[in-house]
């Protein structure tokens, strides 16, 4: 299935809709319901991620950006130049009073997410908040509560939720393609200081908010938050029991407060471990997400399934094997004559078409990572007023795992994870 067809076809079996219930919110029926209508949106926070969404929204027929808000004038000016017709606000509360705004997209520093989201929901605005959801577990619970008590749509910017590669991979896992899940490995390596250029020193904390505890929980909320979803999906929605970890500032000793390298291990009730490691002073291995099973391995980043014991099927049997697993891939069997197959190592089979391999270098967004589909889904939700099922819970758990992982890396000890959402 191509990315283009993804939202309109949703030709997945039961497993995907159980694991990814929010996909149903983009069904043909919903698209039809929203046809010809536009979601009138305001963007709060027009820095790099806000502008990334703005550019996508300007090309989305279901969106009309009517308001922009930022208290940092260069960012507001940059966004206004892309969308000159939109009203400008320096205070998000004023934007929330704007009756022409049906929904808001919050792309501000992490520490602001909770209050802005709670205020937006209270103002009756459908709300899309960038990930991670919140800066603390307490804020997270407050956001969840505000949403539960209200009637507006809430979505969170976890783009993997709408990335077909992940949906297809998890279908494979739950159809038994890799046997029993025995481990989940995530890593994200970069070699840069994670800094943005600052026009003068008084803007340092405002621009480079990711580096300071007051605004951010560093690598855990900015990077791990995405990858920790893999565990929940692979384990069928079960959450880990506890996390332990460690972290430090070992290379970028430039006054930052958040760690420049972390390692966290989550343990599930059945004993399976999920790891997350990030180092931002070496990029050799880039970004990796691997589901390890008793019968195979899925490389989520590259969209490849490897078998532990390749059946060494040859000729058309390779295609039979792929059809059995719902995979459309090529098989190298044509040639001048049949050659008996060797007992070679499994080179893997690509299970997703048009895979964009993200090297993890960008903090803003990467082509083909699900961001476009996610923001389009929000537009449909604003138009129809229908909350995509399960999406807030999904964001809640990925944020909570990131926050408790961060706590474990600071304590360098075990932190228990609640079994249910606390609100």
């Amino acid at each position: 299935m191509t990315r283009k067809d993804f939202l309109s076809n949703l030709a997945f079996g039961g497993a995907s809709l159980v694991l990814f219930p929010w996909l149903a919110a983009c069904s043909r029926e919903r698209q039809k319901e929203a046809a010809g209508e536009k979601a009138r949106l305001g963007i709060i926070g027009t820095g790099s991620r806000g502008q990334f969404h703005l550019v996508n929204l300007l090309q989305d027929p279901a969106a009309q950006v009517v308001a922009l808000c930022d208290n940092y004038p260069p960012h507001l000016d940059a966004a206004s130049s892309l969308c000159p017709g939109a009203k400008r606000y320096a205070d998000y509360r004023k934007l929330l009073e704007d009756k022409e705004v049906d929904g808001v997209i919050i792309c501000t520093p992490l520490s602001m997410h909770a209050q802005m989201t709670i205020d937006a929901l209270a103002a009756g605005k459908h709300t899309f908040c960038e990930k991670a959801m919140a800066h603390t577990p307490e804020q997270l619970s407050a956001m969840y509560r505000a949403w539960k008590d209200g009637h507006c749509v809430l979505m969170v910017g976890q783009q993997r939720l709408y990335d077909p590669k992940y949906v297809q991979a998890m279908e494979l896992v739950h159809n038994g393609a890799i046997g029993q899940v025995v481990g989940i490995r995530n890593y994200w390596y970069r070699n840069n200081d994670w800094r943005r250029e600052v026009p003068s020193p008084e803007f340092e904390r405002r621009i480079n908010w990711r580096l300071y505890d007051e605004y951010s929980r560093g690598l855990m909320t900015e990077l791990a938050c995405h990858q920790l979803q893999n565990g929940s999906w692979a384990m069928g929605g079960v959450q880990p029991s506890f996390v332990t970890g460690t972290g430090s500032i070992q290379y970028w000793k430039d006054g930052r407060e958040v760690f420049d390298n972390v390692a966290a291990i989550y343990q599930y009730p059945n004993g399976v471990h999920m790891t997350f490691e990030s180092i931002i002073s070496n990029k050799h291995f880039g970004m990796g997400e691997q589901l390890l099973g008793s019968d195979g391995t899925i490389d989520l980043v590259r969209g490849i399934l490897y078998r532990e014991a390749p059946r060494r099927r040859a000729g058309l049997e390779q295609l039979l094997d792929q059809i059995e697993q719902g995979i459309l891939s090529n098989a190298a069997f044509a040639g001048t004559s049949w050659v008996t197959e060797d007992a070679s190592k499994d080179d893997g089979v690509r299970f997703a078409e048009h895979v964009t391999v993200n090297d993890g270098a960008s903090s803003i967004g990467a082509a083909g990572d699900g961001s476009v589909e996610l923001i389009h889904a929000f537009c449909l939700a604003v138009i129809t007023g229908s909350q995509p099922a399960g999406i807030v819970e999904e964001a809640y758990w990925s944020t909570l795992l990131a926050l408790l992982g961060d706590r474990a890396t600071h304590l360098a000890s075990r932190v228990d994870i609640p079994v249910e959402i606390v609100w």
Partner: protein, 283 residues
């Protein structure tokens, strides 16, 4: 015969069968048919293949082809309708390919000709020492007949005779044209080039870098020492079989002309490199 009926993907129940015949591995993949329908179709197709294998195998001493090879230099030999048709087709293709496809290529006899008399269905060789080898034609001929039999009963199938002759009926069950890759000569698990087939055939001729020469030069009767593969795609498995041989045998400057005489057929030359890369040039 091996027959597997898989329902592991309930949305696409698929039959797979394999038969060792015609000195190779013949395979068929039949998605969507019920098991008994698939089995019946496979049995019909394999019966056809086995019959052709017996009739046109030049290594058997008791078939009609052997009799022609024994007697046709001395006298006109009467053959049945199907063999006569095959010989007529081979003669037509020989002329259309300027002699680069020639079922008498291994004869090492100059100025040779196969004389066919339609009213009597007889064959006569123009020179002593001539012999027919239909191995480079019959695979495509039978594959095309098999495709016809399959198409009458399903709109989705893939057939492969040794990987050198492949035919796709309809599209892959998951929706796109059938992706069929030519295996890399040095790294057989890898694809040197991928064709996307929908109601089309693919034939590959040439020399595998690790294999032996096996195509005869019609001009000399000797094995042609040449590297590289030629892959031809088009609507008829019989024609792709003929063209892949003719285009591979022909010198580079004649290949375009040969191909131009056949509408709807495309050819590529594939060269596999030792580092795992492959070069593919459109002819």
């Amino acid at each position: 015969m091996e027959f597997i009926y898989s329902t592991r993907n309930p949305a696409v129940p698929t039959a797979y069968s394999r038969l060792d015949a015609m000195h190779t591995k013949c395979e068929i993949l039949l998605p969507f048919l019920a098991e008994d329908e698939a089995r019946a179709l496979v049995e019909d197709v394999w019966s056809m293949v086995q019959a052709a294998d017996r009739r046109y195998n030049r290594f058997l001493a008791d078939n009609m082809l052997a009799e022609v090879n024994r007697r046709a230099a001395a006298e006109a030999v009467e053959v049945d309708e199907e063999l006569f048709l095959i010989l007529q087709l081979c003669e037509t293709f020989r002329k259309a390919t300027s002699g680069y496809f020639d079922v008498t290529a291994g004869s090492r006899v100059p100025d040779r000709a196969v004389l066919l008399d339609a009213p009597t269905h007889t064959v006569l060789f123009s020179r002593p020492g001539m012999r027919l080898d239909l191995g480079g034609f019959v695979k495509g001929f039978v594959l095309e007949r098999a495709v016809r039999a399959v198409t009458a009963r399903t709109a989705c199938a893939l057939l492969s005779f040794g990987g050198s002759s492949v035919a796709a009926v309809g599209r892959h069950p998951l929706g796109a044209p059938w992706p069929v890759s030519v295996a890399h000569g040095y790294f057989t698990d890898r694809a040197a080039y991928t064709f996307h087939l929908e109601d089309a055939a693919l034939s590959v001729s040439g020399k595998d870098p690790r294999g032996r020469e096996h195509i005869v030069d019609p001009a000399t009767g000797n094995m042609l020492e040449k590297e590289g593969l030629v892959a031809v795609t088009g609507p008829s498995a019989m024609v792709t079989e003929v063209l892949s041989t003719a285009v591979w045998v022909a010198p580079a400057e004649r290949r375009g002309d040969i191909l131009a005489a056949f509408d709807g057929y495309r050819a590529s030359e594939i060269r596999c490199l030792t580092d795992g890369q492959a070069l593919t040039l459109s002819i």
